[in-house]
Assembly symmetry: C4
Homo-oligomer: 97 residues x 4
């Protein structure tokens, strides 16, 4: 019953990217932002289950996420949901906010 959701973030630019992840729910206020840095010309793999500051993401509920950055980045999203045979890679651009 565990959902393994990850995001692979690519910063192809020459400045470090300050990234903020906010998690939204159906029945409560969002949590976050979770803050992290992706170095210039680097990728970073984020497991949502590992996010714990300001607090862990509850595992018992659906959520959605918004990823913002102060420089353009590319985010590739993977959700492997053990509740159904569903697997997908999503690719999205995140723009400065």
């Amino acid at each position: 019953m565990t959902s393994h959701e990850t995001a692979c973030i690519l910063n192809a630019g020459d400045r470090d990217a300050k990234v903020e992840i906010t998690i939204y729910f159906s029945d409560r206020e969002p949590v976050g932002p979770y803050r992290l840095t992706v170095g210039a010309r680097r990728t970073r793999h984020v497991r949502f289950n590992d996010l714990d500051d300001p607090r862990p993401i509850p595992l018992d509920t659906d959520y959605a996420s918004i990823i913002r950055a102060d420089v353009p980045i590319v985010v590739q999203h993977t959700r492997l949901d053990s509740r159904q045979a569903e697997n997908a890679l999503l690719s999205t651009m995140a723009f400065p906010a």
Copy 2:
């Protein structure tokens, strides 16, 4: 032979989103709009099989959907079609109409 199509709608903004879903077919006029609200800073999971006002979506035919909202939202679409081993997550932006 049942298609389980769902949409996860994220409203990351600070105003409630009025959402309208219209269903299109190959051989008849569209039905809808189905109206629902997604609260500010909330997600909402919609099962297309549960939509019944103005009337249930016929299960015996293919259809396509357009989702419109009065504020920007993010829609993640899942179709699990038992007729073939096909599963996908689609992510799209819906803009004010």
Copy 3:
């Protein structure tokens, strides 16, 4: 060894859409355009294997497709390739050309 590639085309507008599909290959000139109409407020499911005018698409080679229309349409692409366990739905917008 057969590839089942289909496109579901949605014309949510109030004018019929004149659609042209062109097929591109790695080692020869493109074929097409294959022409079809999608009625106003209708969907149409196109199986690429059924396209035969100006000529059938060769089944023994990879190809890519471009779909053009004279009004905005939505195209959802499915490729079920029996050569590998690969399945995906792609959603793209086609704009007037």
Copy 4:
């Protein structure tokens, strides 16, 4: 443990496309660009494992890629990762850089 990542590049235009692929990592500087040409009105299938100039892509680490071209092209990305039952097709546009 081998990742089979490929990109199918479509050049629907009437000029040859000069394409550059750069590979980014989490813990080292990017490698590339790998240069190739996609003829006018042609597709080209690229297996990332086959890229070897300036040097082969290390197989023991995650990476992300950016594809640039001097004319508009369409890139369809496939990653078949034997480490998990994950398969996806991504479609993206690459614009002149």
